[in-house]
Symmetry: C2
Subunit: 206 residues, 2 copies
């Protein structure tokens, strides 16, 4: 306290508190249920406070997405740094796509609500890109690094879609857990990587 370096300003504190509250509300009620009033109540503040610290609700929204991405990425970045083999990198990224305590139905739904709104509101489309590329682009890069054949780039495409599909299923049916989801992804990876070009399914036309 002897230092007279800049103390953390109240403005920053409040902004972070509000964004964290917005994040909690978002995960519980989805994008549509994330109202200004609810955010303020969740943060234990008065309804009007939001307009004082933010230009509008959109600013809170974008801040919330950045906050969310930071939370998601922290774990993965640490594991990626420690990873030595390509396989370890792949493991880190795949498991990072299913965060330990975040693969739940409400969160899957919240995530989907952003995707859904992106089609109508172009501003949400930017937001969507941030969400969509959380860890996906890393996945693609590792995949290409592990095997640069053009055929395996298709495989990366398939695995990315598989991961999304499992989240979608989590949101819709909620009939699988985190470990099962990860096992399915690695099952898909195994099949795709051990398969040669020449193999074909028996097929009437062939």
């Amino acid at each position: 306290m002897a230092t007279h370096g800049k103390r953390t300003k109240i403005e920053d504190i409040r902004r972070i508190e509000l964004i964290a509250a917005a994040h909690r509300v978002f995960l519980e009620h989805g994008l549509h249920g994330m109202t200004s009033a609810r955010i303020c109540r969740e943060a234990g503040m008065s309804p009007g406070i939001l307009a004082y610290y933010f230009k509008g609700k959109d600013e809170v929204l974008f801040g919330m997405v950045r906050y969310n991405n930071r939370l998601l990425m922290e774990d993965v970045i640490a594991r990626l740094k420690a990873a030595r083999t390509g396989w370890e990198r792949l493991e880190a990224i795949v498991e990072g796509n299913f965060p330990a305590s975040a693969f739940t139905q409400p969160i899957a739904n919240a995530w989907l609500s952003v995707c859904a709104e992106a089609g109508v509101n172009p501003q949400y489309a930017r937001l969507q890109r941030l969400f969509y590329r959380r860890l996906r682009s890393n996945l693609a890069s590792v995949f290409e690094e592990m095997a640069a054949e053009s055929r395996l780039r298709e495989a990366g495409f398939i695995i990315a879609a598989l991961i999304d599909g499992l989240w979608l299923r989590k949101a819709a049916a909620d009939d699988l857990g985190r470990d099962e989801a990860i096992a399915l992804v690695f099952g898909g990876i195994r099949s795709l990587m051990t398969n040669g070009e020449e193999q074909r399914l028996r097929h009437p036309e062939g």
Copy 2:
């Protein structure tokens, strides 16, 4: 006109017209953009007409989903009847999951908006189940029929998730066409079905 058998009542006509209009609005504007006023305008009627023929907006919504499922199923059912081999059945179902002129970004988004709302509103959850199982259950049955090994049931799970993931990607990035999507699914099917149990990816732990 000589017959005095029941003529199609106006009530039925209007209900169908309104549901069809609701369907068009839904595909263009998503669930959230499907307002009563827009539905009536799309149907060329007065704003208040909806309350006369339906108990509420929910009734229109459910009718719209049934209408949608009927449209989707008609083509598939016809192809399934004509199919002789298991492969043909599989083709019919997979391609039925990507209807010729319906694999578009707006439609993908509209579909997602139902999934997203299902997590918050329990009434939409029922709706979601109808949507989700459109063709999925058929897929599973054909998969199990073609090869009843328990390992391939997992494969059916993966393929179903893959299909959903491709729709999600369509909504989010819109960077693939119908043919590419179908090709990717069959690529996944090929890999999964030609792979034996014993094969494993080289892995430090193994």
